[in-house]
Symmetry: C2
Subunit: 472 residues, 2 copies
Amino acid sequence: MTSPFNSQSPLDPTSTEPIYRQIYWRFRGAITDGVLAPGERIPAARSLAKELGLARGTVDSAYSLLAAEGYIQPRGQAGTVVAAGLNVRPRQAHTDHPSTPAPGASVRHKAAVLPFQMALPALDEFPRKIWAQIGARCVRATGVADMANPSAQGLESLRNAIASYLQLARGINCLPSQVFVTSGYRNTLTLIVHALLQAGDRALVENPGYPPTRQLLEYLQIGVQPVDVDQDGLQVTQGIDQCPTARAVVVTPAHQSPLCVSLSLPRRLQLLEWAAREQAWIIEDDYDGEYRYVSRPLPALKSLDREGRVLYAGTFSKVLFPGIRIAYLVVPPSQVERFQQVARTFLGGVPELTQAIVSTFVTEGHFARHIQRMRKLYGERRVAAVNGLSKVLGEHIQIDAQPGGMHLILRLTRAQSDRELVERLLNAGIYAEALSECYIGPESQCGLMLGFANIDSQASAERLGERIVALL
Amino acid sequence: MTSPFNSQSPLDPTSTEPIYRQIYWRFRGAITDGVLAPGERIPAARSLAKELGLARGTVDSAYSLLAAEGYIQPRGQAGTVVAAGLNVRPRQAHTDHPSTPAPGASVRHKAAVLPFQMALPALDEFPRKIWAQIGARCVRATGVADMANPSAQGLESLRNAIASYLQLARGINCLPSQVFVTSGYRNTLTLIVHALLQAGDRALVENPGYPPTRQLLEYLQIGVQPVDVDQDGLQVTQGIDQCPTARAVVVTPAHQSPLCVSLSLPRRLQLLEWAAREQAWIIEDDYDGEYRYVSRPLPALKSLDREGRVLYAGTFSKVLFPGIRIAYLVVPPSQVERFQQVARTFLGGVPELTQAIVSTFVTEGHFARHIQRMRKLYGERRVAAVNGLSKVLGEHIQIDAQPGGMHLILRLTRAQSDRELVERLLNAGIYAEALSECYIGPESQCGLMLGFANIDSQASAERLGERIVALL
């Protein structure tokens, strides 16, 4: 156990730098200089506080920051250790010694994208040149009125563009005034809960399902009732029987998340009939409805909504890129005023510049072209990934072949924990998610979920498959 | 009473356009064509539904949309009328007849900025050319990694820049890991409530205060305890005595919103002592702490926070422009992990492009220069506005002279309703807000709040003052 404190360099109580920050810097320096090695134990906060004559909370504050930044790892009974595998690199900018990074994007540091990363479109094929041209044009055209307070509901031109697009692509009839621009699905779902539900209400969710949906609902004190999913999607009858008082349901009708099955037409109608009868709400999470490869994309559930019970949640994360942070919500006509009121209270608003860029990209036709190209490309990449992985992993896995979505599910033929396997893969630089993490309750299925949109050829898939085999 | 329906042009039940939308378009067309005149009554939903043989809800949906878009106004007993003063203009883009607007920013439609608009910096003096150059550079430099999933906490380079800036400008020692980038003050406050408070908790707020603060808290089921403000800011002793169980307080120490007074040092220390003793939280809303004209800006309350009880909410809305939609939060070291967890669940995230532009603008030094220039300019514009308005309105008003902020408070010497006066001013194209709207409870003071940052000369202020005199 090593401590970076000794009588030659005491802490300075007269410094303007608070003591916890002096401790923080001392440890950080010792770690990045290699004085403290990865895996090495550091003193318990209590004993260090005693040694230095400080309040325990002061050392706790320093340790919290070191842990939050990944320098140290609490290991329970085993004490706290310097993080293993720490890629120590000189950090250039911090508050004491501000540096001046080179202009432009060089100030950004980002982790690399891993192969099989999920929910990530083919970034290599994004029309970045056109995007940059439109972006530069919109930046230069920013006028005084564009800098003033933006509409909480979103830029009018973007809401027009979204309404037009939804009619053509998803069969949804709506007016721009029914569209609310948000900063992502979580933002959309939060807005819906604040507008239509109350703490203590119950909502049906898919099981397996998208974990953030139930996390967010639970944070907002909505009771979550898991409902099983089969090859036709959510088992609607089971859900209604299990929880007759549910006020809402969250569904992914186009490609169920994570199983990629589609909600059958009889079940769609059954859901709509239930919602109309019970005055309940259907939240349609249409996160990648555009990406279907075998036949035409199915119209959205919202397109069948005659009684105004469906809240439609769309996003540009998958059809443009996740960093864009623009999603949208279509609300029934009767709820527009209610949502405007809640939006004024809660929505932070999306930068006008980003809205203007997306709006221009859509109205100039680049968006429709891009989706068409990606649909074709993903169809090819899906086949390449399936073929490459099957060839190498054939005896170990079985691949669910669903007609849409952006990821594959690999069922493991040998019983093993998908979570442990995922951890081994991540350590080896290969992205995967464990299917079992999507289940609520004790019964779950194992499997690996792999995003295929960035797999550029069968050869790449085979190479990656070989690395996976070695870790099975 | 006029109805746009007759036997010559019945609704078409076989159309793909839902009936409510057909009704909507029919009314909208009649209004924009002048067939229905402003102020004219339209049929009650019930009788129109009966006349057309439709469900009442169908007509209600159409009316809701027309009301939400401002075409009609419900007037209670007097029925529903076509909105008065409707500035009818041809709307170019809607879902049925998508148009192709000209490229770039011409797709944006915005209301003009009114004179005396509040919370709006001097947009005419913003360095738009530099901004556009940086923006275009950042757009072009967008790489694959920048398009992938962004950090919920914010871009590292921006958090570095904010931490450096806060140390220099606001006396706050913090590490970038304590900084969370949000999409605005409402977003910041929501994050704090989700992380640290529970439904049913009580919070002290200033009275008069910033209405959105209490609205948001009430939406989130936090009980709001108003505490009076005097010339030294929030009356801390009164607040603690009135509500000993309060878990938090929201304060605007630099320039109290709306009275612009500063929270005195004894009261700052008293608040910190209370928070440490009760393990309560101080939420410091430092929305325009940079703008003080008489002496140097006061350090933030956060700079005195030794016990980690202050949540510091800053924003770029006033020092850059409101449309930017970037704000930030500094949390105590011990709360970083908790906030990271909540941020992953709730924060939609701010577009990377906007974060990169702001980060570059700050690190290249433009930000500090801009604030210095604006501080000088606003000092001049404040004097020009005070002198111009006093000259013309002298006998009718008394102007509160506070050393900071971005708005003036005009006390009316003759007893009259500030809300009615504000309505008359807005109808005449002059912005103002009513001071009485900032009070909770029956006791309130009247006054007009006028933003001065966009008043470019004493002559402008005099001209506007003359228009105000005519409306008193």
